[in-house]
Symmetry: C2
Subunit: 151 residues, 2 copies
DNA sequence: CTATCTATTTAGAATAATTCTAATTATTGA
DNA sequence: TCAATAATTAGAATTATTCTAAATAGATAG
């Protein structure tokens, strides 16, 4: 109600995005989004909740989860770890990456001959990676998964 | 006690690995490892627990977590999602990957000009990726993090 | 503009995943 | 063998996330 013209254009686009994905615009969603944009430091849902309450004291945790979910599904926000389910374990210590099938939920090992090296040159000065992980999501070749069925 | 000679050599190496990382050999650790090697399907800790009980009915959930942790720290097993903490959110929708600093816990956006494309040609027939994520762990440039301190 | 329909929000309960605790047991090394 | 330490166990505790039911808000048809 008090945010001024400068943000309006963005709000329009924001609105669009939500609508396209079948969500309504709500002040809570806008607020959660603003909170994320304000400090781009990869907060947890709980941190988002705490920050969101500053400008919107009545907001609930459930709403924060709901908003984050809507924002992710609208392509406005990303989850840093693709999956929020239980951790899985893998005894394959060779160079490989993981393919999560979004249809059947299975995880496949995909061998990589090119080991996933992000050349250090590309990293800002001072970053020293010790482990690089590549993961993919999509459809696996199993029957019913490869985009044959609607879901 | 009944596993035969073929596995012995492996056991030796297994033992070595644990010792090098400061862990003792225990039948539970061996068993959990065997369970993982038996069916390489990325089970959750809970699934490992259920399977482990088949050959070792007295094993507890806490031990399974303990064993998995020891195996991961010894480099014998990987966690599929690098982090088992709360999901984090990121409003940066440009092509980038994430760098987790193992010292300070911060997550940094790293821009990628080469978008992380695993050429479809490399994938086994039928896999259709829709999203590719690259993430790194290591030391960030912040003071005290870049390997200056021992940890 | 009002009634209605549906999406959203809310608080709090429920569930799921993981970690912690305290007592017991096993292993190592003097 | 004995002491010291590490690991295991059951179960409680914690944390992250999802669910539920009631209340509210927004869009739409009249």
């Amino acid at each position: 109600m008090s945010d001024s013209a400068k943000a309006f254009q963005t709000d329009e686009q924001f609105n669009q995005r939500l609508h396209t994905s079948g969500f309504r615009f709500t002040p809570q969603r806008q607020h959660v989004y603003n909170v994320l944009m304000e400090t781009r430091d990869h907060p947890t849902a709980d941190q988002v909740f705490i920050r969101s309450r500053e400008g919107m004291p009545e907001i609930s945790m459930a709403t924060v989860y709901n908003c984050l979910d809507a924002l992710v599904k609208s392509g406005l926000v990303r989850q840093v770890s693709l999956d929020r389910a239980a951790t899985r374990y893998c005894p394959n210590m060779t160079e490989h990456c993981h393919f999560h099938c979004t249809d059947c939920g299975k995880i496949f090992d995909i061998d990589l001959d090119d080991k996933p090296s992000v050349p250090e040159a590309k990293l800002p000065r001072g970053f020293k990676p010790e482990q690089i992980e590549v993961s993919m999501r999509g459809h696996c070749p199993d029957k019913g998964c490869s985009g044959h069925s609607r879901n």
